[in-house]
Symmetry: C2
Subunit: 166 residues, 2 copies
């Protein structure tokens, strides 16, 4: 349900740590794994993918490790997600051009759904790792949803009781 995988979660966690490193410093996969209590091998694999996507650079040998391959403000979380999870798709239809959607030709929901997908992607591509760390120190003006859908009681549109901020 619109959720990122655990791997992405781990990846972002590790990246946010790398962001804080000084110039020339590197953190090994194991080091990061211990720091965040993530299975070492799993984190290693995630880092490999990030390295292949040129988000992170690997340094072999002892005293080696990983470091960001570019400034944090140039790394969008969209790129991180696609590096770790592969093909992003909001619905089955948005995957390709709808080739895999068989007899649903009269489907009316494809275009609007694709549009939403694009919106989300755009939004994710505008947020960088740099933002992540800033918001760490400052209070985030966020109000999440309070509850999910409620069973047929009130006629008031429940939706998500969250307010918009900026």
């Amino acid at each position: 349900m619109l959720s990122l995988s655990k791997k992405t979660d781990y990846g972002l966690l590790a990246l946010s740590h790398l962001t804080k490193l000084k110039e020339g410093e590197a953190a090994s996969a194991r080091e990061l794994a211990i720091e965040f209590a993530i299975p070492t091998e799993l984190l290693a694999k995630i880092m490999q993918r990030l390295a292949r996507a040129d988000i992170v650079r690997s340094i072999s040998g002892p005293s080696g490790g990983y470091r960001l391959s570019r400034p944090a403000k140039e790394i969008s979380i969209a790129s991180v997600i696609s590096a770790i999870e592969g093909t992003p798709a909001f619905t089955q239809c948005t995957k390709s051009d709808g080739t895999d959607c068989d007899q649903l030709t009269r489907c009316t929901i494809r275009k609007p759904l694709a549009h939403i997908h694009a919106k989300i992607l755009q939004m994710l591509s505008l947020i960088t790792l740099a933002e992540f760390d800033e918001s760490d120190s400052t209070t985030y003006p966020v109000v999440l949803m309070s509850q999910a859908a409620k069973p047929r009681t009130t006629t008031v549109m429940p939706l998500y009781g969250h307010k918009n901020e900026d």
Copy 2:
């Protein structure tokens, strides 16, 4: 990877059909299933959930069926998603208040991630079934959030432009 489940896809499909019905008309689960080539029993279950969330109203007996319980423009797709898929969560941390996140207390990515989650939810709650049908025939007129997050710099975001080739 940020995708909706097939069930939600089916549900939206069925709802978009119900939107086109005239006052007093109803469509049965089987009818809808055949129309869109969806397994009958599966669609029936989906409709049940929508009914429980008061998105759709059921009429028992022969010549019965389903119809929208309120105007299409008052049904957001966010409510549809949460009705069908249950708890929406962008990351594992956003599920509850972070209770299930054990030793990741020093995690720096929770707040910004929650923020993104809220953004997406907000966006989804602003789009209604009415928009869905409009956009079918016309070019998309929707002016949702024009800007997601402040880009901080004019840096062009890579999006999916990672080059794994050397």
